[in-house]
Each structure stands twice: as structure tokens, then as C-alpha cells.
Amino acid sequence: MTEVVATNETILVVGGGISGMTAALEAAETGKQVVLVEKRPYLGGRVSQLYKYFPKLCHPTCGLEINQRRAKMNPNLTILTMAEVTGLEGEAGNYTATVKLSPRYVNDNCTACGECAKAVEAEFDNEYDYGMSKRKGAYLPHVMAHPMQYVLDPRIIGTDDAQKAKDACKYDAIDLDMEEREIKFPCGAVVWATGWQPYDAAKIQPYGYDRYENVITNVEFERMADPKGPTGGKIVRPSDGKEAKNVAFIQCAGSRDRNHLFHCSRICCMASLKQTHYVTEAYEDAQVTIYYIDIRAIDRFEDFYQKVKAKDNVTFTKSKVANIITDKDGNPICRGVDTEGYNRYENTHDLVVLATGMEPSVTKADFPVDIVINREGFIEPDPANGAVFAAGVASDALDVNRAVQNATGAALKAIQVVNRVAGAEG
């Protein structure tokens, strides 16, 4: 099925998050040939896992839907999902990319009717919900997934479940003989948009993320607030399912800390301010405490910050929490010393949300190309990178608005390279 027609005037985009989609679409809409390679079975990346966007508090699905429509309508764009770039050889204007395609075991006949999922018994942690829920061994990654096709988990291949799934499909969409494949194709320029992953909160030992059930991360909290998420949108404690009305946010959990991430992740202050809305909207008698070093609500976000600050059930405590302990009921207790009076505190909450930062999803050792990476792990613009241009969070910790602007810039750089190639070839 996946035939890739490409030349050295083709632009390769690696990563199909909001940044990669933007770069790919911008380039394709100027008439360039673009191949978009995404590791997951669907496009959208991390924003597809957010409940709402700051600052407008609208749903990310809306923006993603527009992009998906643009993608469907554009004949210049080839999308490869469950695909990873494993090699890139050559130089600006003349690269050969090697891409590994993992089998989906489902072909284009799939209508997303869901009969296969009903037939399958095995369940696995749902990565879309950061493991807070289970999904079947045959599954649709999420309700708005693009492409809208089911996937078979490779762990059921060879088991009865695989056959059950195949038998249940009325459209002959399940192909158990699919295998991993490797393809090679030429391209002239590359946009690298592999984004981020949440910093591993368990590494911040004094916060006990790995020990306390009622200490969770901000990405998990996004899933929790989502009506399509693991709790049906209810803000509750993982330990006992009780309503979590007294919620604490700990800022810079991992970021701005030389023991963890050097950089400020830039979005987590705004993410916590946004998530404060989730709590205050869910419960009239909500109590939110935000522990912070300083609030980084840049530019027009200042307004958003001031509005949250004005709420009388939201407390801002200027202090990085030193450690968390729990009481016998599993209530997390935040301990520390504040900076406005140097008062020692021990505050009990129902739930603590760690505002964990973003770290680059690809480590230096895993880049298939030689690339200049800064101390923080992000790609530096550098002539030594040839025609590989970083976009979105692969280049720096950015919010969606800035990631998208950055991606458009990267697309332009890539277009300039393939235009030069076209010019030279006449």
C-alpha cells in the first residue's frame, strides 16, 4: 500500500504533531511534494491528549480537525503512520531517507466500526491516557484519530485474539500477514518535528510520584479533566476515587533545576493556570494552591494569570515545595518554606499535580543524523545540520502558538532548499 513517490525536491517531515503537521501542510500547499513520517498510529501528537488549550480554553480537536481536513485534501502530501526515520544519508538537496514501517495489521478497508475490538479480550495500558486506563488489543487510538483506522497491538499477534479480530471484521480490513518493512526514498530537505515527552516525575524523589497515588503529573491531569478520558472528566483521587476539591499544583517540577532539566519549559505555568479552571469549574467549593518560584505568563498571557489570581479560592504560594509526605488517609502533605515571610508550612491536599516540564523526545544518541544539540537537548540552528531544520518543541520548549509559527519558518527554510535543487536541475 504505502508507495512513496519522491525525488530530491521532496521535503521529508519527521513527526506528525501540531508542528510537523503545520510544516508539512504549509509546504504541501505551496505545491511541494511532502512525506510526513509519524511514529504513532495517528497524527496530532501530544496536543491530541490535551483537554483544552490555553489561553482561549477551546478544544484542541477543533484545530486538529482543520489540519486533518487540509491534509486529506492535499494531493502533494503522503502520510506514513507507525513509521520512524532510522537513517538519513547524503547532504542538503540530496538525501536518502530510510524509514521503518511497523505493521498496523489493519488496511484501508477499515471503517472504524469497532467489531474487532469487541471480539478481542486482551487488554493493555492505554498510552493515550498515559496508562490511566486500559484499551483492547484491537483499538482505535482515540475517537478523533487520523487516520480513522483501528490498530492491532503486536502483542496479540499469534494469539487467538488476533484470529478473533480477523473473523469479526466484515470488511476484510485485518491482515495478519503484515510485516515490518523498510523503505528508502530521496528527499532534498528535512523538517525535524519530533516534539517532547513529559519529564519522568519519578526522578524527583522527594515528591514521591512513584510512591504516592495522589501525586500525579499535569499530562495525566489533562486526561483526567477530559470527558473522554479515564475518569469521564471527573476530577478525583486515584487512590480512592473521592472528589479532589483541594488541589495543589507544584510548578517547575523538574524544570529550571540543574539536577533535572536545565531549561524553563515555558508552558507549565500557563498549563497549571489553565488546569486551575478545570478544578474551579468542576467544584463550587474548590480550593486550589499553586506553589511557584515565579509565574511565567508571558506577553498576552498576563491577563489570563491576573484573572486566575483574582479568584478568591485560588492561593499562590511563592515557594518550591521541598518534599511531600502523606497522612494515613493518603492525603498528600506539601512541606516547605515560603519566600514571602519565610514561613514554614505543611499543607494537606486531596491531590497534588506536578507541573512536569517538557524534554525533547529524541535523545542525542537516537538521532539518525549528525545534528547539533544544545545543553538542554534541543536542536540548535547550525550550518552543520545541512538541510535538516528543527520545528516546534524539537527546537525549544514552546506552546502551540509559537510551535506553529516556528514550524512555518522551518517549512520556508526547507522550501528554499528544494527550490535551489529545482533551479539547479532546471
Binding site: P206, C252, R256, D257, R258, N259, H260, I293, K318, S319, K320, V321, A322, N323, R335, G336, V337, D338, T339, Y342, R344
Partner: protein, 207 residues
């Protein structure tokens, strides 16, 4: 007030931070503190300090010279290193605390009868005699630092501890008569004296 203190007040009149940067070991780190509070919250003795490290650093920047140098806070540091391990900015907090204590001592600003300061002096004097600490004599000097009567009381109260230390060979009664030392005591003393001279000259030059 010592002459050195008067000279330093004269020189750095309105800039205590500069004074700390120039004269306190690791003092140049103070300005790097971002006031997050993790050090204060992680300090096991924090609740007993007048000013936790984070506050001390702010006080230095705010020019509260008298309060800082005559405070007993930095003398409360037990060198557990919790703060250094946790500080997001890698400030060598423990070392700065010791640096501040040392500087306060050089200027003659240590609060009267500060027990840690007293202990440090006794420890130093003890160690300088033979190049090694004489545990028995150290214990005795400590017990008797507040007079003979109190000394006997202290010794009796800690009798069991002393016996156990002897049993475990952590202390020996024979230490009373001389005790062990390094091979070249005179050499060591000369070396330390030289180091002290260099330090004093540095301080003098900064006056």
C-alpha cells in the same frame, strides 16, 4: 568591634553582597540564589534556625550586614548536605554557611557563648596539638568548658556513652597521657600557620 570589622564596614559601606563575594568562601554564589526555598525546606535543622539559608541569602542581598554576621544561623549548619543536593541552582550552600561563620569569626562578630562556635574552637585547638583529634581530651574539654562542677555533672551524665566508646575502641583511656598524633607535628603546624598567614593577608588586602 575589631579593627578588621570597622575597616570592612568602611570599605563596603553600602554593598554587603560585594563584601561577601570578596571575603566569604564561595560567596560569589550568593547572587545565583533564585529564592525557591528548597534548601530551607530540606534542612533537617531548619525549624531551629533564626534564618534559613534562603533567607540569609536574601538578607545578604538586602545589605543586612549586622543581622547576618552576628546571627547564629550559619553556626547551626551540621553539614548534612541536603541543601546542596537539592538546590536547583547548585549553590554550595553548606560551604557558604561555613564561609560566613569563618568570616564572622575573623571579624569578631560571633554571638557570645554560641555552642557550635565554642565546640569548633575546642576541636581546632585539640587537633592542632598533635595533628589528630584526641577524643578523650576533646570530650573532657567539652564537659568542663563551663566550669569544674558542671564538668563533673556532664561527665557523669555521659558515663555510659564514654564506656561504650572505649569498648568499641573509639576512645582510649591511654589518650589521657599524650595520645596519638601525626609523624611530623611541627611540619603540620608550620603548614597550617602558613595557610593562616596567606588567608590573613588576603583579608588584609581586601580591607
Amino acid at each position: 568591634m575589631s579593627d578588621m570589622n570597622t575597616a570592612m564596614v568602611e570599605k563596603y559601606r553600602s554593598n554587603f553582597l560585594k563584601e561577601v563575594e570578596a571575603n566569604v568562601e564561595e560567596g560569589q554564589w550568593v547572587k545565583m540564589c533564585m529564592q525557591c526555598g528548597v534548601c530551607s525546606g530540606s534542612c533537617p535543622l531548619g525549624p531551629y534556625w533564626a534564618h534559613p539559608p534562603q533567607e540569609i541569602f536574601m538578607m545578604i542581598r538586602a545589605g543586612k550586614r549586622e543581622e547576618v554576621l552576628s546571627s547564629d544561623s550559619m553556626w547551626m549548619c551540621t553539614s548534612c548536605y541536603n541543601c546542596i543536593v537539592r538546590c536547583p541552582r547548585e549553590l554550595p550552600i553548606t560551604h557558604i554557611m561555613h564561609g560566613l561563620a569563618t568570616y564572622a569569626k575573623k571579624l569578631g562578630l560571633v554571638p557570645k557563648n554560641q555552642p557550635t562556635a565554642q565546640f569548633s574552637q575546642i576541636f581546632w585547638d585539640n587537633m592542632m596539638k598533635k595533628g589528630r583529634v584526641n577524643e578523650l581530651k576533646l570530650g573532657l574539654s567539652l564537659y568542663f568548658k563551663d566550669g569544674f562542677g558542671q564538668g563533673i555533672k556532664n561527665a557523669l551524665a555521659n558515663q555510659k556513652l564514654g564506656m561504650n566508646m572505649m569498648k568499641a575502641k573509639r576512645m582510649s583511656a591511654a589518650e589521657f597521657f599524650g595520645g596519638h598524633g601525626v609523624k611530623d607535628v611541627a611540619g603540620l603546624q608550620k603548614m597550617i600557620k602558613k595557610a593562616e598567614e596567606i588567608e590573613a593577608a588576603k583579608l588584609e588586602a581586601n580591607k
